[in-house]
Symmetry: none
Subunit: 410 residues, 2 copies
């Protein structure tokens, strides 16, 4: 099925047709899709014991989502944008921007944000550890203070250096006419020097110069530090506000997520963001507390499925899915008009990384054409009535199921 992945203007039509209607819950199991494990012959979703999820799937409309496009491995930002009805190719997002929003840094339109890794560099200028042994928050804080005291950037504007956590920090450049299309200095490998930041167009050269200057000065200032004697910059991007879910689809949305990036993305789309839950149990607690009259759309994010996929830990990914399954009845008990379970991309433990493989999806609601398909996994869902379709289609189907879209034409 589906849309041209680039234009995907069908979401504009939903904007025109959207109105009031029922309440929606999105349960996003980050990276839940996968491949069959060599030992068990099953994907994590197939192998997990998920009686509640399977019962829900049987009463739902099922299918597969290709989040961004054929063969395209989504970052978490684009994967989620697609689920929320924002065609990822039409709404490019820098990870730096997401990181800034994730730590509540008040970005202005036109700010350029970049993620920073503190890193270890040897005497030859080659990177030996891209995360400086995962230094702790206190050292991170001290290094940021030191850089802030000494780095001078020569431009008609100001910069902000913010600690994030562990080896991560971020840089924000604020000034007129700074382009955001600048390559990472992170070489994504050890034993090689950092890259020079490259400008994508003449409009980005000023930013590239500032990034290069920052990295050079940081190296001088941190020369006597161990193990964090250098910085790598990545995800450099200029901030352009996006139209919100309220503006586009009339949705008053709430996010329950513990990781900064997802909280940042939610804020970018105008969602309210609940206090940071400590783990999946607390996240479900929080959703229960907030479910009510104030919001129409609830985004509940589960990170562990992705984390253990990235760690290539099949068994732990299975356990993470089973944990969610035990909590699922609490969502059904809230009786949302529409309940969606899906993922923002696959993270096969066999690959230890995000992948392009389509993810299963279910839409449960009074008007969903139930498929009698179970269990909920990558193989069974491909026989469902939703078919295999671009991720951006989901929001339209969900709005329709919630009675929030008027008829098109007469």
């Amino acid at each position: 099925m589906g849309a041209d992945h680039r234009s995907a203007d069908i979401s504009r039509v939903w904007e025109d047709l959207a109105g009031d209607g029922g309440r929606i819950i999105y349960l996003v199991l980050d990276g839940a899709g996968g491949l069959r494990d060599a030992a068990t012959g099953a994907t994590a979703l197939e192998h997990a014991w998920t009686p509640h999820l399977d019962e829900l799937a049987r009463a739902s409309s099922c299918g597969l989502l290709e989040l961004v496009g054929p063969g395209i491995t989504p970052g978490s930002g684009p994967g989620h944008l697609a689920l929320f009805g924002y065609a990822p190719l039409a709404y490019p997002l820098g990870r730096g921007v997401l990181a800034a929003l994730g730590i509540d840094f008040p970005l202005h339109e036109g700010d350029v944000a970049a993620r920073i890794n503190f890193a270890t560099m040897d005497d030859h200028g080659n990177i030996t550890d891209r995360r400086a042994g995962r230094i702790d928050d206190d050292l991170n804080q001290r290094l940021c203070d030191r850089l802030r005291d000494h780095v001078q950037l020569d431009f008609d504007g100001e910069y902000f250096l913010q600690t994030v956590a562990g080896h991560r920090a971020m840089l924000v450049l604020r000034g007129d006419g700074l382009g955001g299309d600048v390559g990472d200095t992170d070489p994504q490998a050890t034993g090689v020097p950092p890259r020079e930041p490259t400008a994508g167009s003449p409009a980005d050269e000023r930013t590239a110069d500032l990034v290069a200057s920052f990295a050079r000065q940081a190296r001088d200032i941190l020369a006597d530090e161990t193990p964090a004697n250098a910085v790598l910059l990545r995800g450099i991007a200029r901030h352009s506000p996006l139209p919100t879910l309220a503006e586009r689809f009339g949705l008053r949305a709430l996010c329950v997520a513990s990781y900064p990036m997802y909280r940042g993305l939610a804020r970018l789309l105008g969602m309210d963001v609940a206090a940071r839950p400590a783990g999946p149990y607390e996240a479900f607690d929080s959703l229960e507390e907030h479910f009510g009259e104030d919001h129409d759309f609830y985004f509940l994010h589960v990170k562990d499925t992705d984390r253990y996929g990235e760690d290539a830990d099949f068994a732990a990914k299975v356990t993470a899915i089973e944990t969610v399954d035990r909590l699922l009845p609490r969502l059904r008990a809230l009786e949302p008009d529409v309940l969606v379970v899906t993922a923002d991309h696959s993270t096969p433990a066999a690959m230890g990384a995000h992948s392009w493989h389509p993810v299963p999806v279910l839409i449960h609601g009074r008007y969903a054409r139930a498929d009698d398909i179970a269990p909920f996994d990558e193989y069974r869902c491909r026989g469902g009535g939703l078919g295999l379709r671009p991720g951006v289609h989901l929001m339209g189907l969900v709005l329709a199921n919630a009675g929030r879209l008027r008829k098109f034409g007469a």
Copy 2:
């Protein structure tokens, strides 16, 4: 996987490749798709006894069509446009224009047409019945005569007021530079006053003023009438001719339909329109009479499936499907090169309204890759070789099956 629903430019390619070939019959069961009924656990198509349709499906290529786009509930106009190979988002249609064409009113390019409902208004100016108790044709005729005698519109052009049937009439404004993007005065609710017609852009303000003036004068003129003492205007649209099926695909087309809107749409696409049949039996008679050398494409429209879906009458919808099934052998006996059975949208009796759910489709012909799928319903067809695809794809597949599309490239 497929096309962007807005640009859907693939139909332009068919235009370039189209030539002579075989004869095609489209049997469109309006609103035939649905949801499973709580009592029977089956959709109307699943529940109906349809031996002929099932035998045909088994020998056909089957699939599901999403007529306009994901989550989008098609009006009858857009649903049919998609089936005829006109991407609905690229060919917006006003219902007023369709209504005018449906009563054989000779619309000119640039005319603005609006549907009128005679309605009942109370002393406070609130609408108490949007259809004035469904007044009869004679009263409708008399009220139209009365309005025509007294309404004076102050513009450099002329207006036409035409009776349609029951509580329905239509207004056509003819003059230079009249925009068509004007909101309905019908509030779609009772206990509230009519809406003021709003102009979508400055170019539409003249039209909005004329509509407002017409509604105001009608109210004064009809003040002493019971029950029809007001008019509501809706579906206001400017007429722009569309390229015909002959121009686009070389099809000399014939429509057999009893409802004005479908006859109007057919005329808009350059189809010949057979005399209005009294019911499904007479429609099949008419198709048999006309089938021959003069046309390549035959559109046979069945309304009852939609009507009973809208009435939330599951049993009557089942009966309407069974009636068509008994008549189906008469179409096969004509030996068209390609026979298509499908719907222009779903109308689940459980919703009593049009819906976004995909509809089953079958393409029967010598070169269709037969799926051995039966019965013909929403669940079995999803396993068919046509897959789930946008409605606008159908015409290309049908032209190919009829041997009417040349090879693309060398």
